[in-house]
């Protein structure tokens, strides 16, 4: 505003006044980007990077969240204590089960579905729309809905299975079935979304290539194996990594709502373990130590993600 009003006057007075203004403008230009960045840098500094360092510091103390009681430095003791606890053992094994089971259910199963919907072209839109729906519904709502459906006394699943003569067991209160129920529900939530990711990958395949192969007498099976699946591999890697990260983090919600980590720690995972240590038993040191271990795990997965993203870019060229 002021610039525009000033310009004609400055031009009339000649060069000196413009030169006199220059240092100020230069100084302003030097500060300007920092002013634009300030809110973001403050936010990330205070709420992301500083807490990360603070967590490492907390992991070496003993403290119960009581502000009147000072934290006591205990070195690496918390790590040993967490690593040797039965809760950690359960959480670690269960985390592997959650991640391991999610690969066939959430990563591989949607591939053939996506290829089929893709082969339908625009006619497949209804399938996409319906299967996408669970992505938008909050995990709390999903978990509570299934709590009602699977209710062992009044639930719909019991009534419907009863019609065909199957007795519904109490899935969520049995240590053998609870974790699989949560895995099934989280697959329900994310499968359609992964299918859409594959469809996005498939959309970049040139259909002329398929026509050319068919002209050469290639069968559907050959086209699938030689053309479609290889071109889908980068997307597959991306889906794999993002699903692993999703599984480590978001499964917290159904665990908290449906089982609280029980029965007998059979459904807890590392995230839920951290929550229990910190906010249920107020053992901040152990919670922070668990967080640092999770951090190491997630960094390993993220490094793999960066490597696969690079691959994806190369494929695009």
């Amino acid at each position: 505003m002021s610039d525009a009003a000033f310009a004609p006057g400055a031009a009339a007075e000649g060069i000196p006044s413009a030169a006199a203004r220059l240092p100020l403008r230069l100084r302003l230009a030097g500060v300007a980007p920092w002013l634009y960045l300030a809110p973001t840098l403050l936010g990330l500094g205070i709420f992301v990077y500083w807490p990360l360092i603070h967590t490492v510091a907390l992991s070496m103390t003993e403290w119960n969240l009581n502000p009147d009681q000072p934290a006591r430095f205990v070195g690496l003791e918390n790590y040993g204590r967490v690593a040797s606890s039965t809760l950690f053992e359960h959480a670690w094994v269960n985390s592997l089960i959650y991640v391991g089971a999610s690969i066939p259910l959430k990563v591989l199963a949607p591939v053939p579905l996506a290829v089929f919907v893709w082969s339908l072209g625009a006619r497949g839109h209804a399938y996409r729309a319906i299967l996408f729906l669970p992505t938008l519904i909050s995990f709390v709502a999903v978990a509570i809905a299934f709590l009602w459906i699977l209710n062992p006394i009044f639930g719909y699943a019991k009534a419907w299975l009863g019609e065909i003569g199957v007795r519904l067991p109490a899935l969520l209160t049995d240590a053998d079935t609870a974790i699989w129920t949560i895995i099934a529900i989280s697959s329900w939530k994310v499968m359609g979304f992964n299918m859409l990711l594959y469809l996005a990958g498939l959309a970049s395949i040139n259909r002329d290539l398929i026509e050319a192969m068919r002209m050469d007498g290639a069968s559907d099976g050959v086209i699938l194996r030689r053309l479609i699946l290889p071109l889908l591999t980068p997307t597959l890697f991306f889906v794999l990594i993002s699903t692993v990260i999703f599984t480590i983090q978001q499964v917290f919600t159904p665990i908290d709502i449906l089982t609280g980590g029980g029965p007998q720690n059979s459904t807890t995972n590392l995230f839920h373990m951290v929550y229990q240590y910190t906010f249920v038993t107020f053992d901040v040191g152990a919670g922070a130590a668990g967080t640092v271990m999770l951090f190491a795990l997630l960094m390993a997965v993220t490094a793999a993600q960066i490597l696969t993203l690079d691959r994806r870019v190369e494929y695009g060229r």
Partner: protein, 273 residues
Amino acid sequence: MELSRSWRVIGHLVLLTCCLAVAAPVAVVLATALKSPSEVFQPSLWPSAPTFDNFATLFGKARFADYLWNSVATTVLRVSGQLVIALLAAWAFARFAFRGRDTLFAMVLGAMMIPHLLTMIPVYILMARLGWFDTWAALIIPNLAMPFAVFLLRQHMLAFPRDLLDAAEMDGAGPWRALWRVVVPNLAPALSALTIILFVECWNEYFWPLLVTETEASRTLQMGLREFLESDGYSDFGAMMAGVALASVPAVALFLILQRRVMDTFVASGLKG
């Protein structure tokens, strides 16, 4: 691609089964929500006399009016704040050359890789020290800086036609005016896509509100569902399902209105709900 007839039939059957698996729970929730208390425990899929009594319970007996208000207000404030702050930062990265720019941008990208669960304990302690528990500030402020949004908007700004910016500067517009008068109006598609993602993420957030809202009056809708489940949910499944439906309405409505855009947006971002 043309599949053989038998594969086509199998494919449709499998997909229809999947669609049914998605639709059935939705139908059960809606049916239960519309049933009268005497009918709730009968497994029919349609209520004989649909009623909105369960929704009335939510707003009368439970405090869903408070929850709804907290959710709407914090979501609107937080998403607007996130958009403005991310626009400013993205503009700094896209428009200016300054020392340390690439390092800072790498830090922003790095923050994108750090999930909340790794920072929650110190942020929780900070909220306690500031006395922010049970306030909107605790729900809004720690999440205002959104690295993903900065990244996405910067990409769009870099792709912005240089000529338009030059024309604006020739007309005497400084970087500030160029941002709000030229860049922002032309980024509408990217901004609306981003708004959808931020909205759904904030509306459905679970873990952080769980930590910082302790009083009933401060809870968001998602926390309200949890609270209701623990107090009355197991005895009053009708009202419980009404709550589930209520909490899901905004995101689903958004989807029904903007189907294509919502799906494309989520797929492009790779963010799982």
